[in-house]
Protein backbone atom coordinates (compact mmCIF):
# COMPACT_ATOMS: atom_id res chain seq x y z
CA UNK A 1 0.00 0.00 0.00
CA UNK A 2 2.60 2.41 1.19
CA UNK A 3 4.94 1.44 -1.62
CA UNK A 4 2.43 1.81 -4.47
CA UNK A 5 1.48 5.20 -3.08
CA UNK A 6 4.99 6.54 -3.45
CA UNK A 7 5.38 5.12 -6.96
CA UNK A 8 2.08 6.69 -7.93
CA UNK A 9 3.28 10.03 -6.64
CA UNK A 10 6.58 9.47 -8.46
CA UNK A 11 4.77 8.69 -11.72
CA UNK A 12 2.57 11.77 -11.38
CA UNK A 13 5.58 13.93 -10.62
CA UNK A 14 7.44 12.62 -13.64
CA UNK A 15 4.43 13.23 -15.87
CA UNK A 16 4.15 16.78 -14.56
CA UNK A 17 7.85 17.37 -15.25
CA UNK A 18 7.50 15.99 -18.76
CA UNK A 19 4.52 18.27 -19.34
CA UNK A 20 6.53 21.24 -18.08
CA UNK A 21 9.45 20.44 -20.38
CA UNK A 22 7.03 20.07 -23.26
CA UNK A 23 5.51 23.44 -22.47
CA UNK A 24 8.98 25.04 -22.38
CA UNK A 25 9.90 23.54 -25.76
CA UNK A 26 6.59 24.74 -27.24
CA UNK A 27 7.12 28.20 -25.75
CA UNK A 28 10.62 28.59 -27.19
CA UNK A 29 9.43 27.21 -30.53
CA UNK A 30 6.72 29.87 -30.67
CA UNK A 31 9.14 32.58 -29.57
CA UNK A 32 11.51 31.63 -32.40
CA UNK A 33 8.71 31.44 -34.97
CA UNK A 34 7.28 34.86 -34.10
CA UNK A 35 10.68 36.54 -33.88
CA UNK A 36 11.65 35.03 -37.22
CA UNK A 37 8.47 36.14 -38.96
CA UNK A 38 8.63 39.66 -37.52
CA UNK A 39 12.32 40.27 -38.06
CA UNK A 40 12.98 38.47 -41.36
CA UNK A 41 12.40 41.48 -43.67
CA UNK A 42 14.69 43.57 -41.46
CA UNK A 43 17.42 40.91 -41.37
CA UNK A 44 17.22 40.73 -45.14
CA UNK A 45 17.35 44.55 -45.31
CA UNK A 46 20.42 44.67 -43.05
CA UNK A 47 22.33 42.11 -45.11
CA UNK A 48 21.39 43.95 -48.30
CA UNK A 49 22.54 47.33 -46.98
CA UNK A 50 26.18 46.19 -46.84
CA UNK A 51 26.33 44.24 -50.11
CA UNK A 52 28.36 45.15 -53.18
CA UNK A 53 26.46 45.51 -56.46
CA UNK A 54 28.21 42.55 -58.10
CA UNK A 55 27.24 40.39 -55.13
CA UNK A 56 23.65 41.64 -54.80
CA UNK A 57 22.66 41.51 -58.45
CA UNK A 58 23.65 37.94 -59.18
CA UNK A 59 20.80 35.46 -59.04
CA UNK A 60 23.13 32.51 -58.57
CA UNK A 61 24.55 33.92 -55.32
CA UNK A 62 23.25 32.82 -51.94
CA UNK A 63 21.41 36.03 -50.94
CA UNK A 64 21.84 35.46 -47.19
CA UNK A 65 25.64 35.56 -47.04
CA UNK A 66 28.34 37.96 -48.19
CA UNK A 67 29.82 36.37 -51.30
CA UNK A 68 32.06 39.43 -51.62
CA UNK A 69 33.35 41.57 -48.76
CA UNK A 70 30.69 43.81 -47.18
CA UNK A 71 30.94 47.51 -47.98
CA UNK A 72 29.86 50.79 -46.36
CA UNK A 73 29.70 52.49 -49.77
CA UNK A 74 25.88 52.57 -49.91
CA UNK A 75 25.39 53.73 -46.34
CA UNK A 76 27.85 56.49 -47.20
CA UNK A 77 25.87 57.37 -50.31
CA UNK A 78 22.67 57.53 -48.24
CA UNK A 79 24.20 59.91 -45.70
CA UNK A 80 26.19 62.17 -47.99
CA UNK A 81 24.86 61.71 -51.53
CA UNK A 82 21.09 61.84 -51.00
CA UNK A 83 18.52 64.07 -49.32
CA UNK A 84 18.16 61.55 -46.47
CA UNK A 85 19.74 63.89 -43.85
CA UNK A 86 17.27 66.60 -44.91
CA UNK A 87 14.37 64.15 -44.51
CA UNK A 88 15.68 63.19 -41.07
CA UNK A 89 15.96 66.86 -40.04
CA UNK A 90 12.44 67.60 -41.26
CA UNK A 91 11.09 64.56 -39.44
CA UNK A 92 12.72 65.68 -36.18
CA UNK A 93 11.41 69.23 -36.58
CA UNK A 94 7.87 68.07 -37.32
CA UNK A 95 8.02 65.49 -34.52
CA UNK A 96 9.18 67.92 -31.84
CA UNK A 97 6.65 70.60 -32.77
CA UNK A 98 3.80 68.10 -33.03
CA UNK A 99 4.66 66.73 -29.58
CA UNK A 100 4.65 70.27 -28.14
CA UNK A 101 1.30 71.20 -29.72
CA UNK A 102 -0.21 67.86 -28.71
CA UNK A 103 0.75 68.30 -25.05
CA UNK A 104 -0.35 71.94 -24.95
CA UNK A 105 -3.81 71.04 -26.25
CA UNK A 106 -4.45 67.63 -24.71
CA UNK A 107 -3.20 68.09 -21.12
CA UNK A 108 -5.73 70.81 -20.22
CA UNK A 109 -8.49 69.11 -22.24
CA UNK A 110 -7.91 65.76 -20.51
CA UNK A 111 -7.89 67.42 -17.09
CA UNK A 112 -11.09 69.25 -17.89
CA UNK A 113 -12.84 66.03 -18.95
CA UNK A 114 -11.42 63.82 -16.20
CA UNK A 115 -11.66 66.11 -13.21
CA UNK A 116 -13.94 69.07 -13.57
CA UNK A 117 -17.12 66.93 -13.54
CA UNK A 118 -19.11 68.83 -16.11
CA UNK A 119 -22.43 67.21 -17.06
CA UNK A 120 -21.30 67.21 -20.72
CA UNK A 121 -17.95 65.56 -19.90
CA UNK A 122 -18.98 62.02 -20.81
CA UNK A 123 -20.54 62.97 -24.14
CA UNK A 124 -17.47 65.07 -24.98
CA UNK A 125 -15.15 62.13 -24.22
CA UNK A 126 -17.09 59.94 -26.64
CA UNK A 127 -17.11 62.70 -29.27
CA UNK A 128 -13.31 62.88 -29.02
CA UNK A 129 -13.11 59.13 -29.45
CA UNK A 130 -15.18 59.33 -32.64
CA UNK A 131 -12.90 62.04 -33.98
CA UNK A 132 -9.99 59.69 -33.55
CA UNK A 133 -11.75 57.26 -35.86
CA UNK A 134 -12.05 59.75 -38.72
CA UNK A 135 -8.90 58.80 -40.61
CA UNK A 136 -6.66 60.96 -42.81
CA UNK A 137 -7.79 58.98 -45.86
CA UNK A 138 -11.26 60.47 -45.43
CA UNK A 139 -10.06 64.06 -45.05
CA UNK A 140 -7.03 64.54 -47.27
CA UNK A 141 -8.98 65.47 -50.40
CA UNK A 142 -10.83 68.39 -48.85
CA UNK A 143 -7.84 69.30 -46.66
CA UNK A 144 -5.80 69.84 -49.82
CA UNK A 145 -7.94 72.96 -50.42
CA UNK A 146 -7.66 74.03 -46.77
CA UNK A 147 -3.87 73.65 -46.95
CA UNK A 148 -3.78 75.66 -50.16
CA UNK A 149 -5.94 78.39 -48.62
CA UNK A 150 -3.60 78.59 -45.63
CA UNK A 151 -0.66 78.81 -48.10
CA UNK A 152 0.97 75.80 -46.48
CA UNK A 153 1.27 73.58 -49.55
CA UNK A 154 4.69 72.05 -50.14
CA UNK A 155 5.86 72.93 -46.65
CA UNK A 156 6.66 70.92 -43.51
CA UNK A 157 4.42 73.41 -41.70
CA UNK A 158 1.37 71.81 -43.31
CA UNK A 159 2.31 68.63 -41.44
CA UNK A 160 3.04 70.49 -38.18
CA UNK A 161 -0.46 71.97 -38.35
CA UNK A 162 -2.26 68.78 -39.40
CA UNK A 163 -0.67 65.95 -37.38
CA UNK A 164 -2.00 67.15 -34.00
CA UNK A 165 -5.52 66.49 -35.34
CA UNK A 166 -4.55 62.80 -35.23
CA UNK A 167 -2.52 62.84 -32.01
CA UNK A 168 -4.70 65.09 -29.81
CA UNK A 169 -7.80 62.84 -29.57
CA UNK A 170 -5.73 59.76 -28.66
CA UNK A 171 -3.65 61.73 -26.19
CA UNK A 172 -6.70 63.23 -24.48
CA UNK A 173 -8.10 59.71 -24.13
CA UNK A 174 -4.79 58.42 -22.72
CA UNK A 175 -4.19 61.31 -20.31
CA UNK A 176 -7.78 61.17 -18.99
CA UNK A 177 -6.95 57.68 -17.74
CA UNK A 178 -3.86 58.96 -15.94
CA UNK A 179 -5.61 61.92 -14.32
CA UNK A 180 -8.37 59.65 -13.06
CA UNK A 181 -5.87 57.49 -11.16
CA UNK A 182 -4.52 60.46 -9.16
CA UNK A 183 -6.40 60.61 -5.85
CA UNK A 184 -8.62 63.67 -5.49
CA UNK A 185 -7.24 64.28 -1.99
CA UNK A 186 -3.92 65.41 -3.51
CA UNK A 187 -5.70 68.14 -5.43
CA UNK A 188 -7.79 69.16 -2.42
CA UNK A 189 -4.67 69.39 -0.30
CA UNK A 190 -3.08 71.64 -2.93
CA UNK A 191 -6.04 74.03 -2.89
CA UNK A 192 -5.95 74.11 0.91
CA UNK A 193 -2.24 74.96 0.60
CA UNK A 194 -3.28 78.03 -1.36
CA UNK A 195 -3.02 76.94 -5.00
CA UNK A 196 -5.82 77.93 -7.32
CA UNK A 197 -7.47 74.99 -9.06
CA UNK A 198 -5.50 75.78 -12.19
CA UNK A 199 -2.31 76.14 -10.14
CA UNK A 200 -2.93 72.72 -8.63
CA UNK A 201 -3.31 71.31 -12.16
CA UNK A 202 -0.15 72.94 -13.51
CA UNK A 203 2.15 72.37 -10.55
CA UNK A 204 0.89 69.22 -8.85
CA UNK A 205 -1.19 67.12 -11.26
CA UNK A 206 0.83 67.53 -14.45
CA UNK A 207 4.06 66.32 -12.78
CA UNK A 208 2.13 63.37 -11.31
CA UNK A 209 0.82 62.43 -14.77
CA UNK A 210 4.42 62.21 -16.01
CA UNK A 211 4.21 58.53 -17.12
CA UNK A 212 1.19 59.44 -19.24
CA UNK A 213 3.05 62.39 -20.71
CA UNK A 214 5.95 60.14 -21.68
CA UNK A 215 3.51 57.82 -23.44
CA UNK A 216 2.00 60.77 -25.30
CA UNK A 217 5.44 62.04 -26.34
CA UNK A 218 6.48 58.66 -27.74
CA UNK A 219 3.13 58.17 -29.45
CA UNK A 220 2.94 61.64 -31.01
CA UNK A 221 6.54 61.53 -32.20
CA UNK A 222 6.30 58.09 -33.82
CA UNK A 223 3.02 59.01 -35.44
CA UNK A 224 4.57 62.11 -37.01
CA UNK A 225 7.48 60.00 -38.19
CA UNK A 226 5.25 57.37 -39.82
CA UNK A 227 2.29 59.34 -41.20
CA UNK A 228 2.08 58.83 -44.95
CA UNK A 229 -1.11 60.15 -46.58
CA UNK A 230 -0.89 63.83 -45.60
CA UNK A 231 2.83 63.89 -46.34
CA UNK A 232 2.24 62.36 -49.76
CA UNK A 233 -0.70 64.57 -50.64
CA UNK A 234 0.59 67.94 -49.38
CA UNK A 235 4.40 67.95 -49.67
CA UNK A 236 6.01 67.42 -53.05
CA UNK A 237 9.23 69.46 -52.71
CA UNK A 238 12.29 67.35 -51.84
CA UNK A 239 13.66 69.83 -49.31
CA UNK A 240 10.44 69.72 -47.29
CA UNK A 241 9.78 65.97 -47.21
CA UNK A 242 9.87 63.78 -44.13
CA UNK A 243 11.47 60.33 -43.94
CA UNK A 244 8.31 58.30 -44.39
CA UNK A 245 7.56 59.94 -47.73
CA UNK A 246 11.03 61.05 -48.85
CA UNK A 247 12.66 57.64 -48.72
CA UNK A 248 10.09 55.76 -50.84
CA UNK A 249 9.74 58.54 -53.42
CA UNK A 250 13.19 60.11 -53.73
CA UNK A 251 15.60 57.20 -53.44
CA UNK A 252 14.12 55.65 -56.54
CA UNK A 253 15.22 57.25 -59.80
CA UNK A 254 12.75 56.29 -62.47
CA UNK A 255 12.98 52.55 -62.40
CA UNK A 256 16.38 52.41 -60.73
CA UNK A 257 16.09 51.53 -57.06
CA UNK A 258 19.04 52.27 -54.77
CA UNK A 259 18.32 49.03 -52.96
CA UNK A 260 21.23 49.00 -50.53
CA UNK A 261 20.75 52.64 -49.52
CA UNK A 262 16.98 52.16 -49.25
CA UNK A 263 17.39 49.18 -46.95
CA UNK A 264 20.02 51.02 -44.89
CA UNK A 265 17.52 53.86 -44.41
CA UNK A 266 14.82 51.42 -43.30
CA UNK A 267 17.02 49.78 -40.68
CA UNK A 268 18.49 53.07 -39.43
CA UNK A 269 15.00 54.44 -38.80
CA UNK A 270 13.38 51.22 -37.58
CA UNK A 271 15.82 50.23 -34.84
CA UNK A 272 15.92 53.45 -32.75
CA UNK A 273 12.12 53.80 -32.82
CA UNK A 274 11.64 50.18 -31.76
CA UNK A 275 14.18 50.65 -28.94
CA UNK A 276 12.29 53.65 -27.54
CA UNK A 277 8.96 51.85 -27.86
CA UNK A 278 10.32 48.78 -26.14
CA UNK A 279 11.53 50.93 -23.22
CA UNK A 280 8.08 52.41 -22.73
CA UNK A 281 5.97 49.40 -23.63
CA UNK A 282 4.75 48.76 -20.07
CA UNK A 283 3.65 52.38 -19.79
CA UNK A 284 1.77 52.07 -23.04
CA UNK A 285 0.00 48.97 -21.87
CA UNK A 286 -1.02 50.64 -18.60
CA UNK A 287 -2.02 53.78 -20.46
CA UNK A 288 -4.18 51.83 -22.84
CA UNK A 289 -5.86 49.80 -20.10
CA UNK A 290 -6.59 52.88 -18.05
CA UNK A 291 -7.81 54.88 -21.01
CA UNK A 292 -10.05 52.12 -22.25
CA UNK A 293 -11.30 50.63 -19.02
CA UNK A 294 -11.68 53.74 -16.94
CA UNK A 295 -12.39 56.16 -19.77
Amino acid sequence: MDLSDTTEVEVARRAARRRRTGARVALYGLVLAFTGMAAFPFVWATITAFKRNQDLYNRANNPFVFNLDPTLEHVDLLLSGTAFPTFARNTLLVGVLVVAITLALSLPAAYSLARLDMPWGGAMGIAIFFVYLIPPSLLFISLSRVVATLRLQDSVWALVVLYPTITVPVSVWLLMGFFKTIPREIEEQATIDGYSRFGAFARILVPLAFPGIVAVVVFAFTLSASEFIYALAFVARTSEKTISIGVPTELVRGDVFFWQSLQAATVMVAVPIALVFNLFLERFITGFTMGAVKG
Binding site: T48, S112, L116, L139, R197, T222, F228, I285, F288
Partner: protein
Amino acid sequence: MSTPPATAAGTAGTAEPGGRYLLDRKGFLARVMLLPAVVYIVALVAVPFFLAIAYSLSDVTVGDPSFDFVGLRNFATVVGDPTFRRALLNTVLITVVAMALVVVLAKVLALVLVQDFRGKWVVRLLVLLPWTTPTSLATIAWVWLLDSLFSPIDWVLRQLGLLEGNLYWLGNEGLAMTSVIAVQTWRIVPLAAVIIMAGLSAIPSDINDAAKVDGAGFWRTLFEITIPMTLPVIAVATLFGAIVVFTDMAVVFVLTRGGPVDATQVLSSWAFFRGIQGGDLAQGAAIALFLFPVLLVFAVLILRSAKRMEVM
Protein backbone atom coordinates in the same frame (compact mmCIF):
# COMPACT_ATOMS: atom_id res chain seq x y z
CA MET B 1 2.73 82.09 -8.17
CA SER B 2 6.03 80.32 -7.51
CA THR B 3 5.16 79.94 -3.81
CA PRO B 4 1.59 79.33 -2.75
CA PRO B 5 0.27 82.47 -1.09
CA ALA B 6 -0.53 81.95 2.57
CA THR B 7 -4.24 82.31 3.19
CA ALA B 8 -6.11 82.20 6.43
CA ALA B 9 -8.13 79.03 6.73
CA GLY B 10 -11.79 79.55 5.89
CA THR B 11 -11.36 82.66 3.78
CA ALA B 12 -9.53 80.93 0.92
CA GLY B 13 -11.24 81.10 -2.48
CA THR B 14 -14.17 83.42 -1.88
CA ALA B 15 -12.16 86.42 -0.74
CA GLU B 16 -9.71 86.33 -3.64
CA PRO B 17 -9.57 89.01 -6.34
CA GLY B 18 -11.30 88.39 -9.70
CA GLY B 19 -8.62 86.57 -11.74
CA ARG B 20 -7.85 84.15 -9.00
CA TYR B 21 -11.56 83.59 -8.48
CA LEU B 22 -12.05 82.66 -12.14
CA LEU B 23 -9.21 80.13 -11.98
CA ASP B 24 -11.06 78.40 -9.17
CA ARG B 25 -14.45 78.19 -10.79
CA LYS B 26 -14.94 74.72 -12.15
CA GLY B 27 -17.42 75.58 -14.87
CA PHE B 28 -15.27 78.38 -16.28
CA LEU B 29 -12.04 76.42 -16.05
CA ALA B 30 -13.57 73.29 -17.61
CA ARG B 31 -14.64 75.25 -20.68
CA VAL B 32 -11.46 77.29 -21.04
CA MET B 33 -9.18 74.27 -20.75
CA LEU B 34 -11.17 72.22 -23.22
CA LEU B 35 -11.76 75.00 -25.72
CA PRO B 36 -8.39 75.09 -27.56
CA ALA B 37 -8.49 71.36 -28.32
CA VAL B 38 -12.12 71.55 -29.46
CA VAL B 39 -11.55 74.60 -31.69
CA TYR B 40 -8.53 72.91 -33.25
CA ILE B 41 -10.40 69.68 -33.94
CA VAL B 42 -13.48 71.45 -35.26
CA ALA B 43 -11.37 73.58 -37.61
CA LEU B 44 -9.22 70.79 -39.01
CA VAL B 45 -11.37 67.67 -38.69
CA ALA B 46 -15.04 68.63 -38.56
CA VAL B 47 -14.82 71.39 -41.20
CA PRO B 48 -12.83 69.28 -43.70
CA PHE B 49 -15.21 66.39 -43.05
CA PHE B 50 -18.26 68.43 -44.04
CA LEU B 51 -16.25 70.00 -46.84
CA ALA B 52 -15.57 66.47 -48.13
CA ILE B 53 -19.30 65.75 -48.16
CA ALA B 54 -19.91 69.05 -49.98
CA TYR B 55 -17.17 68.25 -52.52
CA SER B 56 -18.63 64.84 -53.22
CA LEU B 57 -21.86 66.59 -54.26
CA SER B 58 -20.07 69.12 -56.46
CA ASP B 59 -17.89 69.37 -59.55
CA VAL B 60 -14.78 70.82 -57.85
CA THR B 61 -11.43 70.01 -59.48
CA VAL B 62 -7.92 71.25 -58.80
CA GLY B 63 -8.03 73.30 -62.00
CA ASP B 64 -11.53 74.69 -61.42
CA PRO B 65 -12.21 75.15 -57.69
CA SER B 66 -15.57 76.91 -58.20
CA PHE B 67 -18.38 75.05 -56.46
CA ASP B 68 -21.40 73.86 -58.44
CA PHE B 69 -23.90 71.49 -56.92
CA VAL B 70 -24.35 68.32 -59.01
CA GLY B 71 -26.28 66.09 -56.60
CA LEU B 72 -25.30 62.44 -56.53
CA ARG B 73 -23.71 62.45 -59.99
CA ASN B 74 -20.19 61.75 -58.62
CA PHE B 75 -21.40 58.75 -56.66
CA ALA B 76 -23.13 57.39 -59.77
CA THR B 77 -19.96 57.85 -61.87
CA VAL B 78 -17.75 56.36 -59.17
CA VAL B 79 -19.93 53.30 -58.60
CA GLY B 80 -20.21 52.70 -62.34
CA ASP B 81 -16.42 52.48 -62.59
CA PRO B 82 -15.12 48.88 -62.46
CA THR B 83 -11.83 50.01 -60.88
CA PHE B 84 -13.77 51.52 -57.98
CA ARG B 85 -15.77 48.33 -57.49
CA ARG B 86 -12.51 46.38 -57.52
CA ALA B 87 -11.01 48.80 -54.96
CA LEU B 88 -14.03 48.45 -52.68
CA LEU B 89 -13.93 44.67 -52.90
CA ASN B 90 -10.16 44.62 -52.32
CA THR B 91 -10.43 46.90 -49.27
CA VAL B 92 -13.02 44.62 -47.67
CA LEU B 93 -11.18 41.43 -48.66
CA ILE B 94 -7.80 42.64 -47.35
CA THR B 95 -9.33 43.82 -44.07
CA VAL B 96 -11.35 40.65 -43.44
CA VAL B 97 -8.60 38.15 -44.29
CA ALA B 98 -5.87 40.10 -42.50
CA MET B 99 -8.00 40.45 -39.38
CA ALA B 100 -8.92 36.77 -39.31
CA LEU B 101 -5.19 35.99 -39.29
CA VAL B 102 -4.43 38.76 -36.79
CA VAL B 103 -6.96 37.50 -34.21
CA VAL B 104 -5.31 34.08 -34.03
CA LEU B 105 -1.67 35.18 -34.32
CA ALA B 106 -1.98 38.16 -31.95
CA LYS B 107 -3.74 36.06 -29.32
CA VAL B 108 -0.94 33.47 -29.43
CA LEU B 109 1.76 36.15 -29.46
CA ALA B 110 0.20 37.87 -26.45
CA LEU B 111 0.10 34.57 -24.55
CA VAL B 112 3.78 34.01 -25.43
CA LEU B 113 4.89 37.51 -24.45
CA VAL B 114 3.35 37.34 -20.97
CA GLN B 115 5.42 34.21 -20.16
CA ASP B 116 8.93 34.39 -18.71
CA PHE B 117 11.74 33.30 -20.99
CA ARG B 118 15.35 34.11 -21.77
CA GLY B 119 16.13 37.07 -24.00
CA LYS B 120 12.61 38.44 -23.63
CA TRP B 121 13.78 42.03 -24.04
CA VAL B 122 15.38 41.38 -27.43
CA VAL B 123 12.48 39.22 -28.57
CA ARG B 124 10.02 41.96 -27.68
CA LEU B 125 12.12 44.49 -29.59
CA LEU B 126 12.23 42.34 -32.73
CA VAL B 127 8.58 41.37 -32.54
CA LEU B 128 7.55 45.03 -32.23
CA LEU B 129 9.59 46.14 -35.26
CA PRO B 130 6.84 45.60 -37.89
CA TRP B 131 4.46 47.84 -36.01
CA THR B 132 6.83 50.58 -34.75
CA THR B 133 8.64 51.09 -38.07
CA PRO B 134 7.04 53.74 -40.26
CA THR B 135 4.73 51.77 -42.55
CA SER B 136 6.19 53.08 -45.79
CA LEU B 137 9.73 52.08 -44.75
CA ALA B 138 8.72 48.65 -43.49
CA THR B 139 6.95 48.13 -46.80
CA ILE B 140 10.12 49.06 -48.69
CA ALA B 141 11.86 46.14 -47.01
CA TRP B 142 9.03 43.96 -48.35
CA VAL B 143 9.25 45.37 -51.87
CA TRP B 144 12.85 44.19 -51.95
CA LEU B 145 11.96 40.89 -50.28
CA LEU B 146 9.43 40.26 -53.06
CA ASP B 147 11.63 41.59 -55.88
CA SER B 148 10.81 40.10 -59.28
CA LEU B 149 14.36 38.83 -59.87
CA PHE B 150 16.22 38.81 -56.56
CA SER B 151 13.58 37.70 -54.06
CA PRO B 152 15.29 35.48 -51.47
CA ILE B 153 12.02 33.55 -51.16
CA ASP B 154 12.31 32.60 -54.84
CA TRP B 155 15.97 31.70 -54.27
CA VAL B 156 15.07 29.31 -51.43
CA LEU B 157 12.30 27.74 -53.55
CA ARG B 158 14.79 27.31 -56.41
CA GLN B 159 17.33 25.66 -54.09
CA LEU B 160 14.62 23.26 -52.94
CA GLY B 161 13.84 22.48 -56.56
CA LEU B 162 10.28 23.75 -56.21
CA LEU B 163 10.64 26.61 -58.64
CA GLU B 164 12.19 27.39 -62.00
CA GLY B 165 12.82 31.06 -62.66
CA ASN B 166 10.79 33.52 -60.58
CA LEU B 167 7.32 33.91 -59.08
CA TYR B 168 6.97 37.68 -59.84
CA TRP B 169 5.20 38.28 -56.53
CA LEU B 170 4.06 41.81 -57.26
CA GLY B 171 3.47 41.31 -60.98
CA ASN B 172 0.80 38.65 -60.64
CA GLU B 173 -2.72 39.61 -59.48
CA GLY B 174 -3.26 36.83 -56.96
CA LEU B 175 0.25 36.95 -55.52
CA ALA B 176 0.15 40.74 -55.30
CA MET B 177 -3.08 40.60 -53.26
CA THR B 178 -1.56 37.85 -51.09
CA SER B 179 1.47 40.06 -50.53
CA VAL B 180 -0.62 43.07 -49.49
CA ILE B 181 -2.57 40.89 -47.03
CA ALA B 182 0.68 39.40 -45.68
CA VAL B 183 2.25 42.82 -45.06
CA GLN B 184 -0.89 44.16 -43.37
CA THR B 185 -1.16 41.08 -41.13
CA TRP B 186 2.56 41.24 -40.36
CA ARG B 187 2.44 44.85 -39.19
CA ILE B 188 -0.86 44.67 -37.24
CA VAL B 189 -0.15 41.50 -35.21
CA PRO B 190 2.23 43.29 -32.77
CA LEU B 191 -0.24 46.15 -32.22
CA ALA B 192 -3.13 43.76 -31.56
CA ALA B 193 -0.92 41.60 -29.31
CA VAL B 194 0.06 44.61 -27.21
CA ILE B 195 -3.59 45.59 -26.75
CA ILE B 196 -4.52 42.00 -25.83
CA MET B 197 -1.62 41.89 -23.34
CA ALA B 198 -3.16 44.90 -21.65
CA GLY B 199 -6.36 42.87 -21.33
CA LEU B 200 -4.54 39.77 -20.07
CA SER B 201 -2.73 41.76 -17.39
CA ALA B 202 -6.10 43.08 -16.25
CA ILE B 203 -7.38 39.56 -15.36
CA PRO B 204 -7.13 39.29 -11.57
CA SER B 205 -4.46 36.68 -10.83
CA ASP B 206 -6.56 35.08 -8.04
CA ILE B 207 -8.98 33.81 -10.71
CA ASN B 208 -6.13 32.00 -12.43
CA ASP B 209 -4.89 30.72 -9.08
CA ALA B 210 -8.34 29.49 -8.14
CA ALA B 211 -8.58 27.66 -11.46
CA LYS B 212 -5.22 26.04 -10.82
CA VAL B 213 -6.29 24.94 -7.33
CA ASP B 214 -9.46 23.48 -8.79
CA GLY B 215 -7.28 21.39 -11.08
CA ALA B 216 -7.93 23.16 -14.39
CA GLY B 217 -5.14 22.49 -16.88
CA PHE B 218 -3.62 24.90 -19.42
CA TRP B 219 -6.23 24.33 -22.14
CA ARG B 220 -9.20 24.47 -19.77
CA THR B 221 -7.92 27.68 -18.19
CA LEU B 222 -7.37 29.07 -21.69
CA PHE B 223 -10.82 28.25 -23.04
CA GLU B 224 -12.89 28.71 -19.90
CA ILE B 225 -11.20 31.68 -18.25
CA THR B 226 -8.62 33.51 -20.35
CA ILE B 227 -10.49 33.65 -23.64
CA PRO B 228 -13.94 34.56 -22.28
CA MET B 229 -12.45 37.17 -19.99
CA THR B 230 -10.33 38.72 -22.72
CA LEU B 231 -12.98 38.49 -25.43
CA PRO B 232 -13.91 42.19 -25.21
CA VAL B 233 -10.27 43.26 -25.40
CA ILE B 234 -9.64 40.90 -28.32
CA ALA B 235 -12.61 42.55 -30.02
CA VAL B 236 -11.17 46.00 -29.35
CA ALA B 237 -7.73 44.97 -30.63
CA THR B 238 -9.22 43.48 -33.80
CA LEU B 239 -11.43 46.49 -34.47
CA PHE B 240 -8.54 48.91 -33.99
CA GLY B 241 -6.43 46.83 -36.35
CA ALA B 242 -9.31 46.66 -38.82
CA ILE B 243 -9.61 50.45 -38.86
CA VAL B 244 -5.87 50.82 -39.49
CA VAL B 245 -5.91 48.32 -42.36
CA PHE B 246 -9.22 49.49 -43.80
CA THR B 247 -8.06 53.10 -44.17
CA ASP B 248 -4.40 52.48 -45.01
CA MET B 249 -2.86 53.44 -48.30
CA ALA B 250 0.88 53.35 -47.52
CA VAL B 251 1.23 49.58 -47.98
CA VAL B 252 -0.53 49.46 -51.33
CA PHE B 253 1.07 52.66 -52.57
CA VAL B 254 4.64 51.56 -51.81
CA LEU B 255 4.23 47.85 -52.56
CA THR B 256 2.24 47.84 -55.81
CA ARG B 257 1.00 51.37 -56.62
CA GLY B 258 -2.35 49.63 -56.89
CA GLY B 259 -1.04 47.40 -59.67
CA PRO B 260 -0.67 45.21 -61.58
CA VAL B 261 -3.29 47.14 -63.61
CA ASP B 262 -5.34 48.28 -60.58
CA ALA B 263 -5.66 44.71 -59.27
CA THR B 264 -4.64 45.73 -55.72
CA GLN B 265 -6.21 49.20 -55.68
CA VAL B 266 -7.95 50.04 -52.35
CA LEU B 267 -10.37 52.86 -51.53
CA SER B 268 -7.74 55.23 -50.08
CA SER B 269 -5.24 54.75 -52.88
CA TRP B 270 -7.96 55.05 -55.55
CA ALA B 271 -9.20 58.27 -53.90
CA PHE B 272 -5.61 59.56 -54.01
CA PHE B 273 -5.03 58.67 -57.66
CA ARG B 274 -8.39 60.14 -58.69
CA GLY B 275 -8.58 63.12 -56.35
CA ILE B 276 -5.02 64.35 -55.92
CA GLN B 277 -3.05 62.96 -58.88
CA GLY B 278 -5.99 63.09 -61.29
CA GLY B 279 -7.11 66.43 -59.87
CA ASP B 280 -10.79 65.46 -59.62
CA LEU B 281 -11.40 66.48 -56.01
CA ALA B 282 -15.14 65.84 -56.20
CA GLN B 283 -14.78 62.21 -57.29
CA GLY B 284 -11.87 61.64 -54.89
CA ALA B 285 -14.02 62.88 -52.00
CA ALA B 286 -16.90 60.64 -53.08
CA ILE B 287 -14.59 57.59 -53.17
CA ALA B 288 -13.10 58.31 -49.73
CA LEU B 289 -16.57 58.81 -48.23
CA PHE B 290 -17.33 55.14 -48.86
CA LEU B 291 -15.00 54.47 -45.92
CA PHE B 292 -17.27 56.30 -43.52
CA PRO B 293 -20.25 53.97 -42.89
CA VAL B 294 -17.93 51.06 -42.13
CA LEU B 295 -15.83 53.19 -39.76
CA LEU B 296 -18.98 54.25 -37.94
CA VAL B 297 -19.93 50.62 -37.35
CA PHE B 298 -16.39 49.84 -36.12
CA ALA B 299 -16.52 52.77 -33.69
CA VAL B 300 -19.84 51.73 -32.20
CA LEU B 301 -18.60 48.13 -31.81
CA ILE B 302 -15.42 49.32 -30.06
CA LEU B 303 -17.37 51.41 -27.60
CA ARG B 304 -19.68 48.48 -26.84
CA SER B 305 -16.72 46.15 -26.24
CA ALA B 306 -15.03 48.77 -24.08
CA LYS B 307 -18.18 49.03 -22.01
CA ARG B 308 -18.17 45.27 -21.50
CA MET B 309 -14.59 45.47 -20.26
CA GLU B 310 -15.73 48.03 -17.72
CA VAL B 311 -18.52 45.80 -16.48
CA MET B 312 -15.96 43.04 -15.97
